[in-house]
């Protein structure tokens, strides 16, 4: 079973790049693009053809990333989440990633379904959904910065945190 951590780390990277890459795409590209497209009435292509596909890969990549990360932690899962000293660095990263997964499935995706018309919602509900989904997405972008710091420095390269 020595091969499990290597495979888990590989899948964790592949899915994590997909997840966070799409998160950055939403925040740095799609949101500003939608603002500009709304001004000239051309947002339909993005909301109809791009956003649903991007959200599909985004939310399932988040799940795969978390599961592969849990597999990679293995017996260190509980010590990491309880911030035991040897695993505290990766534990902070794991907690941040877990909060981000929660945001994806509990705040971003249900509200995006209203915004994109996948579930019915009034204009008022859509406006509220836009704000909640936007702030949850921006929160995840903010959290990704310390999350990646602690992921990079918490498990195998601990010099920066002094372990």
């Amino acid at each position: 079973m020595d091969f499990v951590p290597g495979i888990a780390r590989w899948i964790h990277f592949l899915a994590g790049i997909t997840w966070i890459g799409l998160l950055y795409y939403f925040n740095f590209v799609q949101v500003p693009a939608l603002k500009a497209a709304a001004a000239d009435g051309s947002a339909g292509g993005i909301t109809k053809h791009v956003a649903p596909r991007a959200l599909l890969w985004f939310r399932w990549a988040a799940v795969v990333t978390w599961l592969a990360g849990a597999a990679l932690l293995g017996s260190a899962f509980v010590p990491a989440f309880t911030l035991q000293p040897a695993y505290a660095g990766i534990g902070i990263g794991a907690w941040l990633g877990t909060i981000m997964l929660f945001n994806v499935w509990v705040l971003i995706w249900p509200n995006q379904k209203k915004i994109l018309g996948i579930v019915t919602a009034s204009d008022e509900e859509k406006n509220k959904a836009r704000r909640v989904a936007f702030l949850a997405s921006r929160t995840n972008t903010m959290l990704s910065i310390p999350m990646l710091f602690f992921m990079a420095n918490g498990l195998t390269h601990k010099a920066l945190i002094g372990l």
């Binding site: 000293p85 505290a88 921006r138 929160t139 959290l143 910065i145 310390p146 710091f149 945190i161 002094g162």
Partner: protein
């Protein structure tokens, strides 16, 4: 006060500040005495 998350720059700066805060928390509270 404006929400820093409304701008990309504000979001990135908030992330960097949070990184520093969590680093100080880790070094001075979780790893204190290790």
């Amino acid at each position: 006060m404006k929400n820093p998350l409304d701008s990309i720059l504000g979001t990135i700066i908030s992330g960097l500040v949070l990184t520093l805060v969590l680093y100080v928390f880790l070094k001075n509270f979780v790893l204190a005495g290790v």
